[in-house]
């Protein structure tokens, strides 16, 4: 009986340790605790060029992560890319004239959307559209321009 009990206790500890490990993977390692789909509102923004932006790329205000990109589509009517993003409910007082730009973290880092709040008195709601946008900086184009201007100087 005593041995049986030891076995039962050790199996109990084993199962508890396994579940605790799963819990840690869910809460501490993955993004469950940070932001879910639950408490967010969606915004759209139109860009000429989204560069290397991807679904799940972060959205930041002043460097603070406030949301992420959920969809990227292309509008064949206006020939613009439409980016849909989810911003956490806590940050629901974005002025209507907020502008969105696509930045790169470091020279080769991932791309993200940076929002700069404007000065309007009314705020963006669920489904609102950010009108002022600035496209991604395409490094190849920049280098191309630089080389051409250098060549033009030389001749």
């Amino acid at each position: 009986m005593n041995r049986e009990r030891t076995i039962e206790v050790s199996v109990g500890i084993f199962v508890a340790a396994g579940l605790a490990a799963l819990f840690m993977l869910a809460m501490k390692v993955s993004n469950l605790s940070a932001l879910g789909e639950r408490g967010g509102y969606t915004l759209t923004a139109r860009f000429e060029n989204v560069g290397g932006l991807k679904v799940r790329s972060p959205v930041r205000i002043g460097g603070v992560r406030v949301g992420h990109v959920t969809a990227i589509d292309y509008d064949m009517q206006n020939y613009e890319a439409i980016v849909t993003l989810v911003v956490d409910r806590r940050y629901d007082r974005l002025p209507e004239d907020t502008s969105a730009s696509i930045y790169t973290a470091g020279l080769l880092g991932e791309q993200f959307i940076g929002l700069e709040p404007g000065g309007s008195e009314s705020f963006l709601g669920d489904g609102g559209e950010i009108v002022q946008t600035q496209s991604a900086l395409v490094l190849e184009n920049l280098i191309g321009h630089f080389l051409y201007s250098k060549a033009a100087e030389g001749s």
């Binding site: 049986e4 076995i7 039962e8 050790s10 199996v11 500890i13 084993f14 199962v15 340790a17 396994g18 579940l19 605790a20 490990a21 799963l22 840690m24 993977l25 869910a26 501490k28 390692v29 993955s30 993004n31 469950l32 605790s33 940070a34 799940r56 972060p58 992560r65």
Partner: protein, 260 residues
């Protein structure tokens, strides 16, 4: 000459399909025997002890050492690019997606699968299974089903423990010894690791591996030639076939889950 070669090729091909078919039928009978375990939780608990609890030590030690080595090696490379903060996501993603399920399954096949095969095979060799049948006790329900279920349940738990311990090991090396920033380590990890995409898919992988490894182990034991040599061969086959199955399935599952 050629005829003999062709003949042996055909023979081994037929043998392969015979064994595959027999193992599938066997799996069906074991699955049918699983409900009869419900009134007998004792049997399952005893097997969980020998399969799961006794594998904890090797899993925790391997997880710790894999995590620490990953942390150390990744740091040495990442620090050249000034991105040593991405140590967290690199280690967490590789452990949760690949190394955790795969290495746990390989260790499990060596530590627990071989023991299951040897145990069932020796029961068969010493006619214990026949005796049970004579006493109208179905050995599939009494012996095989609890062992199969214990392996199937243990492996996902062991894989989760492996990944968690590995991440803690790399945290210890990266943050404790090499001086990566504590907050950046966890926050970068949280922003890159997705619950559904990475953690759940890793768990699904380990569930599949648990099923396949336990299936191979109990089938090889039950199907072993009931001699000393036959049992030793069956034990070897368990480890080798489990390793092949895990590595092959891992490729397929990775392509399915993270392919796009």
């Amino acid at each position: 000459m050629i005829g003999g070669w062709l003949q042996s090729l055909g023979h081994s091909g037929l043998c392969f399909f015979v064994r595959l078919g027999r193992s599938a039928l066997f799996m069906g009978r074991v699955a049918a025997g699983l409900p009869s375990l419900l009134p007998l939780p004792r049997l399952l608990v005893r097997e969980l002890h020998s399969v799961g609890v006794l594998s904890m030590a090797i899993i925790v030690l391997s997880g710790l050492s894999v995590g620490m080595v990953l942390g150390l090696q990744m740091y040495n490379t990442l620090v050249d690019f000034g991105t040593e903060e991405s140590l967290g996501p690199v280690v967490a993603l590789s452990l949760v997606r690949e190394l955790g399920p795969v290495l746990t399954a390989l260790l499990f096949a060596g530590r627990a699968g071989s023991a299951l095969t040897a145990e069932i095979g020796l029961m068969k060799a010493t006619d214990q299974l026949s005796v049970m049948e004579m006493m109208a006790v179905d050995p599939l329900k009494r012996v095989v089903a609890p062992r199969f279920l214990a392996g199937f349940l243990s492996l996902p738990l062991l894989a989760a423990i492996f990944s968690a311990v590995g991440i803690l090991g790399s945290y210890f090396v990266g943050v404790g010894l090499l001086g990566v920033d504590d907050g950046a380590f966890w926050s970068q990890m949280q922003s890159k690791v997705d619950l559904q995409e990475d953690v759940i898919n890793g768990v699904i992988k380990s569930v599949v591996f648990g099923w396949v490894c336990s299936w191979i182990a109990v089938f090889e034991g039950y199907d072993a030639v009931p001699t000393t040599e036959g049992v030793s061969r069956a034990t070897t086959r368990t480890v080798v076939h489990s390793a092949f199955a895990v590595l092959g399935l891992d490729f397929v599952l990775t392509a399915l889950m993270f392919g796009d």
